[in-house]
Structure formats: C-alpha cells, structure tokens
C-alpha cells in the first residue's frame, strides 16, 4: 500500500502534499492541548496494530485499521497517521520521503470519511449494531484507500493502470479481514468503554 519515491508524477506528488498538509492542519486545529496525550497514545496503539500480522490464506498481511483510526480519532487521524508514516519511512525504510503527502492522504482521507459515515452508527447502544457499522467502516476505508492508491498511480501514467487494478483486487480479502477485526474491536469497546467511540479522541 505504500507508494515509493519515484513512481508518481510531480503533479500527483504536489497535490498529495498540499491535500495532506490541509488535512493535518485541520486535524491539529481540532486537537486542543488537553487531548494530545490521548491522541498520542492512541496513535502509538494504531502504529503497533499496523505491525500485527494476521494470516490470509497461505500468507499473512499487516493490518492498516485506518477506518477504526478515523472512527476513534476523527480529523486527528490525519496528523496521527502522518506521524506513523513518517516514522515508518525514516526508521523502517518503508514508503518514501517525497511521497509522504500522497501516502498520508491515501490512508487518512478514507479514515475521515469512515468517521463521518460510521460515528452515528457506532454510538448505537446495541453493541451488535455498532459492530456492524464498524465492519462497514473498516471495509470501506480499505476500499477507499486502494481506490486512492489506484487513482494516484493511474493519473501518473497509463502504464500503471494494471498495477493499480492488481492493488485493488489483492486487497479484497484484506477488506473482509479489516471488517471482521473492526467489528470485534467496536463490539468490545461498546461494552467495555463506550467513550472510546464517542469522544473523537
């Protein structure tokens, strides 16, 4: 899912950078100092969650959980996921430097969309209903992220279109897994700590 340096056209890189900067600015604006500890610790949790590998068929994939990050962090998902990607790029060598903006937008924008789509549903007092909305949000965010990656590649060059399609197809099982895991997370949170789903951090 990470796009590396050198694959995208300059226009896409600049557009991604501008959109990501806008999203981060909005996220920071809605993040009072009082909420920074919560956002920071949750951001660290999502970082660790993205290191979790779950089995898929004969192989395994790492989780992304951006739908859930959006649901819990709201607009703060933009700065939180940007920090995750920055740390990944410089300390782990995944991703790239010039594409940080594009990668942030591709992951965080679907997170914010999932937040608006599911925040009502996930606040439902019935944990099963909340879990169903979370499943939808989890699958939707992955679908939207792969769509963003596909668009970024396709706009950069005709020759990337098959790769973009392949990205989408290979992520269909991941959508199902993220949906199942997000549902379980929200089912548990709705019963144990409903504030997690209502506080926007």
């Amino acid at each position: 899912m990470h796009i590396v340096d050198g694959a995208l056209s300059t226009e896409v890189v600049i557009a991604g950078g501008v959109l990501a900067a806008g999203g981060i600015a909005l996220g920071l604006k809605r993040l009072p100092v009082e909420k920074i500890p919560a956002a920071g610790v949750l951001s660290a949790t999502f970082f660790v969650a993205s290191l979790v590998h779950v089995p898929v068929g004969p192989s395994s994939v790492h989780l992304i959980m951006n739908g859930l990050a959006g649901l819990i962090l709201g607009w703060a998902a933009f700065p939180a996921l940007f920090i995750g990607l920055l740390l990944q790029a410089v300390f782990f060598g995944f991703g790239g430097i010039t594409v940080l903006g594009v990668n942030t937008f591709n992951i965080a924008f679907p997170a914010v969309l999932a937040y608006y789509a599911t925040r009502r549903g996930c606040a439902n007092p019935n944990p099963k209903v909340a879990a169903a909305w979370a499943a939808f949000g989890g699958a939707f965010a992955i679908a939207a992220t792969t769509a963003c990656v596909a668009v970024a590649l396709a706009v950069s060059g005709e020759q990337f279109v098959p790769a973009a399609k392949l990205v989408f197809v290979t992520h269909i099982p991941i959508m199902a897994i993220e949906a199942a895991i997000s549902a379980a997370v929200v089912f548990l949170a709705a019963r144990v700590k409903p504030e997690l789903l209502r506080s926007e951090v």
């Binding site: 590396v4 993040l31 410089v90 300390f91 782990f92 430097i97 897994i177 199942a180 379980a184 997370v185």
Partner: protein, 262 residues
C-alpha cells in the same frame, strides 16, 4: 533504525554520536535528506541515478549503519514494490525487446522500472542514514526548530514515547493468548480474537492517556513544548550543507546539462 523506536534506552545504540553523520546538526540532516529526495525524483538518466544510489550507500557507511541489516531492510521494501516493477515492462507502450508467454515487454518499460527502483532505493538509504539514525526525540526537537507546528511535534513525541510501551503490552497479551492455546489461522475465531486484542489495547491506551493527562496537569503542564537541549550550528554543519548542496546540484547538472546522456 527500528531499534530506536522500540528501545528508549539509548545505551543500546552503539557508537552513538561518534560517526561523522551522527555528529552533524539534526536540522542540517533533515534538510539534506529532503533536498536529496527532491533532487533524485527529478532524475531520469542512469548516470546521475547510479551516482545518487552510490551517494546513499556512502551515507550509510558514514552513518556507521550495519550494511547487512540495512540492505535487508531496503530489500524488504523492494519486495513490496516488485510486483509493480515487474508489470511495467509489459504495460508500458514502446519498442518490444522480448516476449514472455506471448506478452511483449518493452525497452521503455524496463527503463522505467529500473529508474523507479534506483530512485526509491537511493532515497530510502539516504533518509535512513541521515534521519533514521537520530533519536526520535532529537528528530522531534529538530522539527520543532524547523518551524513544524508545536502540536504536531507534541503528538509525534507522544507517539514515539508510547509505541514501545504499547508494543510491550501487546506482546504480553499475545503471550497470554498463546498460553491459552491460541494459534492464528484462517478462521473467524482468529479475526475476532485479534479484534478483541486490539480493542483491549485501545481501551487501555485511552485509560493510560487519562492518567498521563492527570499527571501532566498535576505538574502544571501549560501546553508549551519545553526543549531542553540547545542546537548549535557548527562549521562542520555548514560544510556538510555545502557538500550536500553541491552533490544534489551535480546530480541535477548531469541530468539536465546532458553531460552523460545514455
């Protein structure tokens, strides 16, 4: 590298502050890495691209990074992009040079795939050598001094601080799951269990953050980022900036002045 994010204990990092790169001002290193990345993505010819990759490898040595683990990490990244690179010769229009199972592969496609691979590797190597060898806290402070918004730096410092704590908690919970006979498989039970695991991590994270906030308030936290260390720009930092700018300039000169077109 990864060990800095997972180990708060700085003692574990060997030779800290003794190599050339690690003695430089962190701001100069961040700016050099960004400048290098921007210059390299603009390249197309192979001579400057190979020179850029060589530059990345030299930086890796100057930063005293272990070559084998570092190159392994870079190869892992290549593993992720390889499927895209492999497709390119077959999807790029141009002059056919060979046919695999009836699909024509073009010269232009191979060239494009090689360009992307060279750029990505050169930039990742330089970024890991220049920025990845810093303490994450130093990175945060340097970004703050480079006028990155205070809130964002705060959030980054919090994230870095708690990744290690939460990772340990994650490992304890995985151990407890294993003790109860949990084994990941392609089952619904697995996904539900992972969901409860992550849910529990989030619940504990939120509760932990409440305690942190209470402790910070108790100590009179006002929302200001207090930076204790003082960064000083030395002559060696200026020298490094000049060398870095000359190197990036040389790469761009090779590219656009048609010195080594091939």
């Amino acid at each position: 590298m990864a060990h800095q994010v997972f180990a708060v204990d700085a003692e574990e990092i060997p030779d800290r502050g003794r190599t050339i790169v690690r003695r430089l001002d962190p701001r100069a290193r961040i700016l050099a890495a960004c400048g290098f990345a921007v210059a390299v993505v603009a390249l197309k010819s192979f001579a400057p691209l190979l020179l850029a990759l060589a530059g990345g490898l030299v930086l890796m040595r100057l930063a005293d990074m272990e070559p084998l683990p570092t190159l392994k990490r870079v190869a892992m990244m290549d593993g992720f992009i390889v499927f895209m690179l492999v497709l390119l010769p077959f999807t790029t229009p141009g002059e056919t040079v060979l046919t695999v199972a009836g699909f024509p592969a073009t010269r232009e496609g191979f060239v494009l795939a090689a360009q992307i691979a060279l750029k990505a590797n050169a930039i990742v190597l330089a970024a890991m050598a220049l920025v990845g060898t810093m303490e994450p806290v130093t990175l945060g402070h340097a970004l703050y001094r480079l006028k990155v918004p205070e809130n964002l730096v705060h959030l980054m410092l919090f994230t870095v601080r708690y990744i290690d704590v939460i990772h340990q908690e994650y490992q304890r919970m995985r151990l407890a799951m294993r003790a109860r006979g949990f084994r990941p498989a392609n089952t619904r039970h697995t996904y539900t269990s992972f969901g409860y695991l992550i849910g529990m991590m989030l619940v504990r994270a939120l509760e932990r953050s409440e305690r942190i906030l209470a402790a910070m308030k108790c100590r009179g936290f006002s929302g200001r980022l207090e930076v204790l260390d003082t960064l000083r720009y030395h002559r060696r930092d200026a020298a490094f900036a000049v060398v870095a700018a000359l190197f990036a300039g040389a790469l761009l000169f090779m590219e656009f002045a048609d010195v080594a077109a091939f």
